[in-house]
Structure formats: C-alpha cells, structure tokens
C-alpha cells in the first residue's frame, strides 16, 4: 500500500492503494467516483475512459503510480462547452440504452470534438472504435456527434 494524492476534477483525493492498482480502481474504490466504468480491464472496451492531462486514457490499464501529479478528468468533471454539447445531443437523440458504456463514449466523443470540431464519419470511426457498446447504440452515437458538432458551429 502507498498513499497517492490524485488530482481528479480539480480536487485532490488521498487514496491508499497498492502502486500497481489501475487508475480506474483508484478513481472508483479510492476516490468514490463511480461514473467511470469497468467493462474489460484490458484496454479493449473504453468504458473506463478518462483524461490524464487532457489526453484520453484507458484507466483500467494505467497504474496509479504512473499518474503522478497529472490532472485526471472523469465524466463527473466534464464541463467544457464541447462536453455540454455532446451531453445535450445524447439526450436529444436518446442515445443510451443500458447506459453502462456511455460515460466512456461521451469522454471519447468530447475529446474528438475538442480536436476536430467537424468530424466526418471516418473521423468518428477512428476516434470511437475503441469504445464498445454492447447495446449497439452506434447509429445514435454517430448522429449525436454530428449533432453536437452542428450546435458548436453556432
């Protein structure tokens, strides 16, 4: 066990875990933030997607000891205008079914729009194909990303 001061969503959380613990479990069991999900544990599904210093990361596959003083952002801490546009588009189209993958989808979609305000279908494929949705809400995910891009355009 070791103590880590994790900066998550602008707050410092003291978590006492083994250094090998994946960031995912430090966030969920340590800091008590449960919006970030576990789906595979092996960087296959994207349910655990968070930002570390603004970069999307599969938190199930990054040991907490590698995070250091980096800024971690989870679904609970999303507040950019891109994120709001994405969330609004998601609700407008009723994208979620079971909803379990959607935190990860929204983290990835928001990251895409941060980099690329007008993504093509191909851009969406590339940015989103690391996020599995077992309910297969993909048609609406795609439509919602286009929708969010439109609203951001003004």
């Amino acid at each position: 066990m070791a103590a880590f001061a994790l900066k998550i969503n602008g707050q410092t959380h003291q978590v006492d875990v083994d250094p090998s613990t994946p960031l995912l479990w430090a966030i969920r069991d340590g800091a008590g933030l449960t919006g970030t999900k576990y789906g595979c544990g092996v960087a296959q599904c994207g349910a655990c997607t968070v930002y570390v210093d603004g970069q999307t990361v599969r938190s199930c596959s990054l040991p907490v000891s590698a995070v250091g003083s980096s800024e971690v952002t989870t679904i609970e801490g999303l507040d950019s205008k891109e994120a709001k546009a994405v969330q609004k588009a998601w609700v407008a189209l009723d994208v979620p079914q079971c909803g379990y993958c959607q935190s990860g989808q929204i983290m990835s979609a928001t990251a895409l729009l941060n980099l690329n305000p007008a993504p093509t279908d191909r851009d969406i494929d590339l940015a989103m194909n690391g996020n599995i949705c077992r309910c297969a809400t993909y048609v609406r995910i795609r439509a919602a990303i286009h929708g969010a891009a439109k609203t951001l355009e003004g």
Binding site: V17, D94, I132, R134
Partner: protein, 726 residues
C-alpha cells in the same frame, strides 16, 4: 381484434397505501385474474416490506411510476410511464420512473406469474394494467378536485397535467394528491379509446426518462454500490465446468494488502477484500488444485463431430405434416445443408454482480436483478430466513441480453453463500470480472440444424429440420412450463412452425446433455432457428428460381403479419427497382419471435475481414406501437447485436475449458462496423408485443442470403469470421 387483451383484465383494485414520506397519492395494483397461470402466486403471510404502489404523485406534481421489471436498456421505465401518463392525462415533463422492489404478489409479471423480466414481455404484460393504474389515479384526482371545488366530477377535465373546471378553476395534480388518497378507489376505471391517445404512439413528445442520468455518470449500477466496511468479493471458479476444489493454499493471497479473508464457498474460493483490485490480485495469488473427475472435458471439435453424427440420424419428431420421406423419394432438386451454431456469451457491458448485507435474521440485497421472485426465494433459503425477512431492491443493470435472468438463480445463490461464509453484519459486493463472465458458462447453446428439402416444378415440396442441441430449461423451475413430450420447446421454437406452406414437413430433435451450463440469449431459440429457416428457405427459393421476397410471399397465405412486414421492408428498400452498386448484394429474412414480426433487408459487400454490411432496412409489427422511438432503438440495437455475433463471436472449448476470456478473443461489433439503419413500424391495432429481442433473429440469415447473392455462399458454420480477435 381490439387492443384489449381479454386474458388480462382487471377485476378489482387489490390495495393501495400511503407513502409516509412525501405524502401524496399512491395507487396500488390492479391484479389480473384472467388466466389461471397468474392466479396462483404464493402470498407470503407477512408481506409488508414494500410500498404497495405503482404510481406516486407528490405535492411537487411529479408522478413516479414504479416498474415491476428491470430497466437495462430496453426502455421499460419510459414504456411504463407512457402507459400511466396516457390515462392520467399527465404532462410528460412531470413523469418519473423507478424500480419497484421485489414483491412476488404485487409486482409479478402477468405472463410469468412471478416477478421477472424476459421474453420481451414488459409492455405486453403491463399494457392494460398500467393504464388502469393511470386511469384510477386520474379518477381519484378528479374526485378530489370536484369535492374541493364543490362541482360535479363530470364537469372536470384533465389535460397535460392540469385539472380544470368550466368556472375557471384549475389546479395541478400535487394540490389534490393528499385529498385523493381519502377518496374511494374506483374498482373498474374507464380506459381511453385508443383513437384518443396522445402519448401512446406519439413521436417527439415522449423522451426516455433515463437518458440524462446516463450521460453524466450519475446513473447508479450495482458495481457502483459502495458502503463503509463493504467488502468486494471475487471468486476463483473451476476453469472447467463441473470441476471442484480438491485443495487450496491461500497464504500468498492473504498476504496481499487489502485482502481481508479467503473462504471456500460452493462455487469456488472467495477472496474478500477492501476494493476490487486487492480482491482480484488476491485471487490471482491463490494456489488451487482442481478435481476434474466430474468435469466436462470435451473440446469443440469433439462436440461438433458428435453433434454432426447425431444430426444424420432421425431425432424425436416435434412435428410432422404430409409425407416428408415419400415426397423426397419422388426426386427433384434435393438440397441438404448443415448449419452449425457456436456457444455464445451474452457479455453484457456490466459483468454480473450483486450487493448483500446479511444481519443474521434479516438481509438486504440490492442489484440489477432480472428475476426478483426466484432470486429472493433462494437468498432467503440460503441464509435460512423467511422470504419476508429479506428485502431485495432492484436497480439499473448494464445490459443483460438474457444473462441476468437465471433459471438456476446461480448468482443470487452465490451472493448469499458468500455473505453466509463471512458471517452476519458484513456488507459484501460480489463482482464477476469480464473473464469470469466470458468463461462462466450460461451460453447460448451450441447446436446444429440439418436441413433437407426438395424442389419440384419450381415449388418447395418437402422440408425437414433435424436439430441437435442442448436444453436450456432441463432441471430448472421452468422445465414444466417449456417442455413438451420430453423436449425443450425453446430449442426448436421457430423450426417447428415455419411461416411457409410446405405440404410435406418434418421437424425432429436430438436433445443432448453437455456439461456446459446454457441459458436463453437475446431471442432464445430464434437465434438459431431463425437462421436455419430463413437461410434454407432462401436457398430453396433460389433452387426454384424465385425472387426471395415474391417467393416467400407466395408461401405465406396463412401468415398476414409476416407478409405485412415483408412487403413493408421491400417497399422501404425499394427491393424491386433499387440499383445495387457493383460488388454489393442484398439479402432478406423475416422472423416472428415473441409475437412480434420483423423483416430485414441487408446490403453488403465482401472485404478481407469478411462481410461489410452497409445498410439494413427493417420493418417491425409489434402491435400497437407504444413508444415508436424506443421500438426503433431496439431494432437498431438488435441489428448491431445480431450482426456482431453472427460475424465474429463464439465461445470454443479446449478440452472442456472455455477459451475466449475477454473482448480481445470474443470480438464485439464496433462503431466502424455498424451499418446505416432505416426502420419502419407497421401500423397495427393488435395488442402490443415486445421489441427487446425480435430485432436480432432476421439479421443473420439476411446477411447469409446477401452473401449467397454475391456468390460467396451462405455460411454453414457461424461465426462468419471465425477465430476473430479484435
């Protein structure tokens, strides 16, 4: 036929109760007495743990509908709230939904007789009941307003959540909720004529009630339950089905910081820890010697050869019409094909789990429970306390596809065993890892269909389907309900009743035992029978020189709803006239499951990575369409789910050991593989039927038929792209 289902009619309001907290109006259950099957639910003597309500109207004007089934994506919350809101004349913005707790009397599924979700039954079994609840609440509110205003109730109208009188008086539900509680409950509330529906069948007004919480991380699932002193439990189970623990050494596991204890439980060795990670690493450190003497040790290749040999011999006849053998003997164009279907894991996005706190003489369980009544009973039994001393709350689940409805209640039992082994007073959260989920069995059964038929003079004269498969229900509480003449009807449903007129017909079956636990998987038997029937009819029509749609319609004289969706999808895709791009082809299939009819047309091309499906057109007839957008969403999801599995998914056995352990070896459909989808809902006044499963079965055969059209043949063994890794 009208939308009023004669078998589900209300006779009396059984009870209602006031919720102390929040006051307001609470309306209880209208329990159907129509069918015998529903009338015999056991009524525990002291069943007073649940607030006995379906709808709660609070002073703040919110109307909360308690759903007796679970919301795991299929839209149950929204569907139930729509039915209540329609009859209540509520405004959609005031509607909320939540799960009802486990209560086998009050919240039973009217089609099952126990509380549970499955068989795409949510709307079908609640359509009348939930409307009665809404109508009763409306009558009570009107009566309360009439008394307050001293005007005749008949002069009062309700619209969009506002109660009005011609004198200009008006008010909202919350103002009258308390008073309404004192009014006599109407025994037979009047339901609307469907032609006056405002919300049922509407477009754009009804939005899902759970979308917002599912986009900001607030939605709470079982994995998210945290409590002080709670222990997370991960179990090491036998790598082979039927294996048991011979001996184990937990020294290294216990040395891991955060690991609190290690106990042997009936399903394996349980590691109790402060959090998931120490529990999982603790499990990795266990040294276990397994006893495989009773384990299933056959591999996939061996099963295939055994199943194949059996499929060449006659099985037990399920249905026979005309003279199949005689017709075959007359010669003509004989077609014989074999279809092989793999074991499939459900792999819901949230793996299995559960929360339980046992206090000695009481217990509290909370999880995404799909079958509350049997789970509730087994928890009580395992802990040795009466059922009414166990409270079971249902919460959201991250998908199921059948996996959370266990005919054996094995997860609920394991949850209780784990709590029991630790002793009272310790809250525990049992967590299955993804690998536990994939390798834990309860798969869609492995099966083979051997199809034989003959075409003479452009006509299908004979058809037979010999099925080799494993029973899902054998040995479970559902055996009596689903077995006919010693055979599990869910293994052949769809194969014994084909929608086509064929004079000489036979369906027979070999029901075999394999030591691999199996389970219903989104659309159950239709996952394989739909493929077998629809790929085969296409193949025979091809031999007969017929168009796949025209040819099907010619044989569907007695099946107007099948024909209806087929015509609708042909029109949607412009089947006759559309110019299909070079290198692409289209295929069609139509399957009825759970009284819902779905036809799909697929357009695809071939790539190095197998078929690429570009577009799917889908027509669905599910009776009265309660929530059109949810119906479309379920068709979209069903198509994506069906496609991912037909293309890539299989669980294979290596000397009995399931091989695929995660999404790297059990490939899931991803966004870049998702086709464009267009859905048309066929207008119908038939009673509503489900949509959670019926979108799945036609997709596979439509893909196969398009592949044949493209000249690469219909796949005989699934998945189409075997050995896939992401």
């Amino acid at each position: 036929m009208t939308v009023h289902d004669k078998t589900i009619h209300a006779t009396a309001l059984s009870r209602r109760s006031l919720l102390k907290a929040g006051a307001g109006l609470a309306i209880g259950a209208y329990i159907a007495r129509g069918g015998k099957a529903f009338a015999q639910a056991p009524a525990p003597a002291a069943y007073n743990i649940a607030p006995n309500t379906f709808v709660i109207i609070k002073p703040d004007n919110t109307v909360t509908v308690l759903c007796k089934g679970i919301e795991f994506g299929q839209g149950q919350f929204t569907g139930m709230a729509t039915l209540v809101a329609e009859e209540l004349d509520a405004d959609w913005s005031q509607m909320r939904a939540d799960h009802a707790p486990s209560n086998p009397v009050l919240y039973k599924n009217l089609l099952f007789g126990v509380q549970g979700t499955g068989g795409s039954s949510a709307v079908a079994n609640s359509y009348i009941q939930m409307r009665q609840v809404g109508a009763a609440a409306r009558e009570l509110l009107v009566a309360a307003a009439a008394e307050t205003w001293q005007v005749p109730a008949a002069e009062i109208t309700v619209e969009s959540g506002v109660i009005k009188h011609a004198s200009g008086k008006e008010g909202r539900f919350g103002e009258f909720a308390d008073k309404a509680m004192q009014m006599p409950v109407p025994s037979d509330p009047k339901l609307k004529d469907p032609s006056t529906f405002k919300l049922i069948g509407s477009e754009g007004i009804v939005k899902r009630l759970d979308s917002a919480d599912k986009t900001d991380g607030k939605a709470l699932y079982t994995l998210d339950i945290h409590e002080p002193d709670m222990l997370t439990v991960v179990i090491a189970r036998s790598p082979k089905f039927g294996g048991t623990v011979k001996s184990f050494d937990a020294t290294a596991a216990k040395a891991i910081p955060g690991v609190v204890d290690v106990k042997q439980v009936p399903t394996g060795i349980a590691v109790y820890a402060k959090g998931f990670w120490p529990a999982k690493t603790g499990r990795d450190a266990l040294k276990i010697v397994w006893d495989d003497s009773k384990a299933e040790t056959r591999g996939s290749a061996q099963l295939l050869s055994e199943f194949r040999a059996l499929s060449k011999t006659p099985g037990k006849v399920v249905k026979s019409e005309g003279d199949f053998d005689g017709s075959m003997a007359k010669g003509g164009r004989v077609v014989e094909v074999e279809y092989v279907f793999p074991y499939l894991a459900h792999a819901p996005m949230e793996p299995l789990n559960g929360y339980l706190k046992w206090e000695g003489d009481t217990a509290y369980a909370r999880y995404g429970c799909q079958f509350p009544t049997p789970d509730h009973a087994v928890i009580a039994q395992t802990l040795g306390i009466p059922m009414e001393k166990v409270k079971l709350d249902v919460i959201l689940a991250g998908g199921s596809f059948g996996r959370r409805a266990q005919q054996t209640t094995h997860v609920a039992r394991e949850l209780a065993e784990v709590a029991k082994a630790m002793g009272p007073g310790k809250p525990i959260k049992l967590v299955w890892t993804r690998e536990d989920d994939m390798r834990g069995g309860y798969y869609r059964p492995y099966s083979i269909h051997r199809m034989r038929g003959v075409v003479r003079d452009g006509k299908i004269e004979a058809w037979s389907d010999t099925i080799v498969g494993q029973s899902i229900m054998k040995g479970s509480a559902f055996e009596a309900m689903t077995f006919k003449d010693g055979l599990d009807s869910t293994s052949y449903e769809g194969s014994n009743e084909i929608p086509y007129d064929v004079a000489n017909f036979k369906c027979d079956m070999h029901q075999v035992d394999v030591g691999v636990p199996v389970l219903w998987w989104r659309s159950v038997g239709h996952t394989h029978t739909g493929y077998a029937v629809e790929a085969f009819v296409d193949e025979l029509l091809e031999a007969a020189g017929k168009d796949p749609i025209e040819g099907r319609l010619e044989l569907m004289g007695k099946k107007p709803r099948h024909a209806g969706v087929l015509k609708a999808v042909a029109e949607l895709a412009d089947w006759k006239k559309a110019k299909v791009e070079t290198g692409r082809a289209r295929g069609v299939a139509v399957v009825e499951s759970f009284n819902t009819f779905v036809a799909q047309i697929v357009e695809l091309s071939m790539t190095d990575d197998g078929p690429r499906v570009h577009k799917v057109w889908c027509a669905v007839d599910c009776g009265v369409a309660v929530n059109p957008d949810i119906i479309r969403a379920q068709m979209e999801g069903g198509i994506g789910f069906g496609l991912g599995h037909i293309l890539y998914a299989e669980q294979t056995l290596d000397a009995g050991r399931p091989v695929a352990g995660n999404f790297d070896t059990y490939r899931s459909l991803r966004i870049n593989e998702m086709p464009e989808i267009e859905v048309v809902i066929v207008k119908s006044t038939e009673k509503p039927s489900g949509v959670g499963e019926p979108g799945v079965p036609p997709l596979g055969p439509a893909v196969a038929n398009a592949m044949a059209k493209l000249g690469v043949g219909r796949p005989r063994q699934l998945p189409i792209v075997p050995g896939a890794s992401a």
